[in-house]
Amino acid sequence: MMMEEQNGKPHKEDVCPGKKDKLNLETANAQIEETKGPEFWRSLEELAGSGEFQEMMHREFPKGASEWLDTVSRRGFMKLMGASLAMAGMTACTKQPLEPIVPYVKQPEEIVPGKPLFFATAFTLGGYAAPLLVESHLYRPTKIEGNDKHPVSLGGTDVFSQASVLGLYDPDRSQNVIHLGNVSSWGQFKEVILATLKDQSASQGAGIRVLTGAFSSPALADQSQAFLKLYPQAKWHVYEPVNRDNAYEGAKLAFGQPVDTQYQLENADVIVTLDADFLYAGFPGFTKYARDYAKRRDPDSGNMSRMYAIESSPTSTGLKSDHRLPVRAVDVEMIACQLAGSSGGSLSGAQAKFVASVVKELQAHRGSSVVIPGEHQPPAVHALAHAINAQLGNVGKTVVYTDTVVANPANQTESLKDLVADMKAGKVQWLIVSGVNPLFDSPADVNFADAFNGVPNRVHLGLYQDETAEQCHWHINETHYLESWGDTRAFDGTVSIVQPLIAPLYDGKSLHELLGVLSDDAQLSAYNVVQDYWRKQHPGSDFDLFWRRSLHDGWVQGTTYTPKQVSAKSENFSQTTTTRSTFSSGGPASAIEINFRPDPSIYDGRFSNNAWLQELPKPLSKLTWDNAVWIGPVMAERMGVATKDLVRVEVNGAKVDLPVWIQAGHPDNSITVFLGYGRKRAGRAGTGAGFDVYPLRTTATPYFTTGAQVTKISGTYLLASTQGYQTMDAGDETRPIVRTATLEEYKQHADFNEEKPPAELTLYPGFDAQYKKEPYAWGMTIDLNSCVGCNNCIIACQSENNIAVVGKEQVNHGRHMHWIRVDAYYQGDRSDPQAYFQPVPCMQCENAPCELVCPVGATTHSTEGLNDMVYNRCVGTRYCSNNCPYKVRRFNFFLFSDWDTPQYKMMRNPDVTVRSRGVMEKCTYCVQRISEYRIKAEESGTTDRNTDGDLKTACQQSCPANAIIFGNINDANSQVSKLKAKQRNYGLLDDLNTRPRTTYLAEIRNPNPELQG
């Protein structure tokens, strides 16, 4: 589908920047009606062709980024400048200060200063492990990579594990044991608790309760069993605000027992999601799914999969799909029944057609299709999905059932309710809370805080002195996972030993050690607990070898779950499927539904104080540092609200005021709010950011409910979204930035994308030849088909290249520093668009426009085709970024890098300069890694660096979908050369003749011809 043909000549109005008023919905709609708008758009403003957007496109930085915005007057500024000019001459005479150099006393054998070591370990979220390799410089962990030998990771990671290294060095982490608000010590705590435990053992621990998050650690499970054996009357509760209750209840409904479901997407020709966002980092198995999904989206290998998404709140999964049916979450169950063969419920014409097509497709792909239910859909939908998958013969082929990864798959909501009931009844003498924050995130209706405050002895073990720690008698600073021993399971059941990378920075304790004290074994270390457990599992003389191998490889052999044979309980199946004809529609169709979702960046609030995640533009809205209520364009229009307007959301007898974000693709009469914001005691990054929506949430309807009231209230709120910033000028759209075709079109016209600039259009004849003769010429391809917009590359780049965080205010001015951004382009109807995700790093142009305009030669070309940026030469004229058509250059308007906090000094990559104020920076293709490989090869006396596949940029290495490929384009056999030879390959804004080294592979969608048009 070539866009210019379809739309005719897209409109182009001559807009005087700033002349037009701010976009309001009436004018927007009028403009959309009038002009039809561009085919691809990044924001609703752009779709409407507003003046604000046009201005943004023509500007180098957004308005205000380059201006003096401080409160100091112009006159004051001139005075300061005068003084600094006078001093400026003096700075050249600065002497380098004496620098100390500190050797070891006894140097460990494996350490070679200047060379990093890599250790295997694992990060855990909700019990599911992300297997990792962590780069360590002189025993300081600096960079998280995926464990490429592990079957789940295969080198890919997710944003949460990537950013966890910042969590380790977070200066706001709790550094002390606190007793009643005063600094105490672990020793004092032990004394107190050991004395009380003596009382408790008489009553067999009847007064002891433990509350933790979900865990999969076999050693912890074993230890908790031993603890409960010691105190048979004690109870262990598990609660996380975003949990898998629905999935387990659904499995119980279907099979009579909780099981985990693994999807084999590489075998799936047809994927149907029922409100499931499996391309989101919080979804168990995300890295594996992203890779398998991408593998089946290659139009050149044939046999491309097709994805249908039936979903409520828009997700990257849904917008990536070939066909998306936006429905309210409450209606998903009815549609699932329809898929299963029920005739109940009522569907509109378009919906019925959609469902009929999906059914037909599923029937045609028995054994090679898969239906994936969403985590927030009720158990019935999960049971239905199990039934459909069984009916289609998918079980064993695309769907595999295993034991649960988490050690205790009990219903967490019930578990929390039980605990509250016991607390209210005064049965609880000692409550130990570990790693969770119920005072912030428990459902409103259980009144956790009231019951909690009645418990006479409350102990909190956690990384932060958070809302819960504040209300506890004792707070013990917990070790970060990079500081302590443990073990954990990945979503396929494989156990990884969690290996510490550094000694505890603040002498923290782990839950293993706390349980040791509670079990009257105060000397117990986490290392002993884990090792002893595995010694029991692997008795025999070769244990040492087994242990070392497990640590080295990053997983324990033989622990991967084997598929489990589960038999369906037929009475439950029939009940939930065909015979069913009534559905809770949640009241009339006009009743407003509210969806609660974990935030894409900070999850349930536990990552609130992680500034990398806070500043990470969320996949669809590109919002940073805040949450907003998502409202669909049609509903917003009806209500007369615009983005940034404040609304009051009332549901379940509670109300919260928060700003609106109009999200294209959101179903009508439905809104989405994101959990995790509005923290009161998170730290300097998290406290006060966003709005707390937990008060709206109840145990009965944790993920969605109808009957919400949304009313406009006066006032607006500043939202810092990067959507629309760094917009590239695609001219009159004869050079579309995103290129796409359907599979059919691609098969017929593989050359649909042929549009190469004429070779003679150059001021540098023979320019090509110069690069062709070099042995190495670096280039990159980014496959738009594979990119799922997970943002992982942004965090990986930030971590690898010491990129600073700037804060909400500065993001709003467009001064964020990310070297790679992921642009989301929407296409089609604003209520039901498709989206294209386009990561944009520096293009490393061969004819780089930036280089020509630098007055001081601070950006120059290397012989291998890198567009080098020399920080120490840069004087900050910003001419280069002014001349960059891709808007990939970032300027340090202030001293954004924290040069003082000692923890951050430990975190930084020593191979990359930490930039100061007033210099330009941008993607370097990870030149430090190129250098490393070059030096390694040259030292071995060869000119052949043999880098293909080994030398990876940080973004490439972290990408779970393998969308980014980097390598030597002068080697015809390299991966990148082969990709560049494909007809899908195109350069951004090719006709400017910048000859970008980074090119894109056009996105090929595989729509069902029946549903097209």
């Binding site: 050797p103 006894k106 140097q107 060379k115 370097t924």
Partner: protein, 231 residues
């Protein structure tokens, strides 16, 4: 009527030229200060916790560079010896030497000795020892006659022009790899020709040119690209 005296003309001329000369001189002075040992510390010994003498250890005793600087051949950083390396010998000899007290204290207490860095490049420069060693750049080419330094100082200015001087014409400094750690290596001359690889060399440039090929040195354009050292 003439207000100014005739002599004012001369004064005016003198002040114009004088002013120009003054500006020029100031500029020249600035550049000279910038290149002077006052700024670069060239040939200036730094204070150290122990007056360690390279002259004594290298020239008099004959310890190889790599005995202490262990990672010089395979890492960017040459390595500063841990206290343990000192104690290998000094647990046997010079036991009572007062100068060595900080070393013994460090070994006993487990607290590192804190030295002052001598060859200190700015933080935005990424120098790699190992690649220079493997391409035949001798230690003393950059570090000077370390075996004649009772107290360590930096031989070069360590300014960019000093680095580029060699990167623009590496042939003038290369030597056979086996001579890299030889502190008394002399470049071949007609008086002292060098027999290497079955060929007699009487001048450095012809030896250097051959070594450039033999060691696969990258082109001058390659090794003067900014990202070779700055990233």
């Amino acid at each position: 009527m003439q207000i100014f005296h005739r002599a004012t003309n001369t004064l005016a001329k003198a002040s114009i030229f004088g002013g120009l000369i003054l500006v020029g001189t100031l500029l020249w002075a600035c550049i000279q200060i910038q290149r002077s040992p006052y700024v670069t510390y060239q040939h200036v010994a730094r204070p150290q916790p122990v007056p360690f003498s390279h002259e004594h250890h290298v020239a008099a005793i004959g310890i190889d560079c790599r005995y202490c600087h262990t990672s010089v051949e395979n890492s960017s950083f040459a390595g500063i010896p841990p206290t343990k390396t000192c104690m290998n010998c000094h647990s046997e000899i010079w036991l009572g030497g007062g100068m060595l007290q900080p070393v013994r204290d460090s070994y006993a207490s487990g607290k590192s000795l804190i030295w002052n860095r001598v060859n200190d490049l700015p933080d935005f420069v990424y120098f790699d020892h190992s690649i220079h060693i493997s391409k035949g750049v001798g230690c003393n080419t950059c570090h000077g006659p370390v075996d004649r330094m009772p107290l360590m100082y930096n031989e070069g200015s360590l300014q960019m022009e000093w680095c580029l001087d060699c990167h623009r014409s590496p042939a003038k400094n290369l030597r056979p790899q086996e001579q890299v750690f030889n502190m008394r290596y002399e470049q071949p001359t007609t008086q002292k020709p060098l027999l290497y690889d079955g060929k007699v060399y009487t001048d450095q440039m012809s030896l250097g040119a051959d070594l450039v090929t033999k060691y696969h040195l990258r082109t001058v354009a390659d090794i003067t690209s900014c990202s070779t050292c700055h990233r």
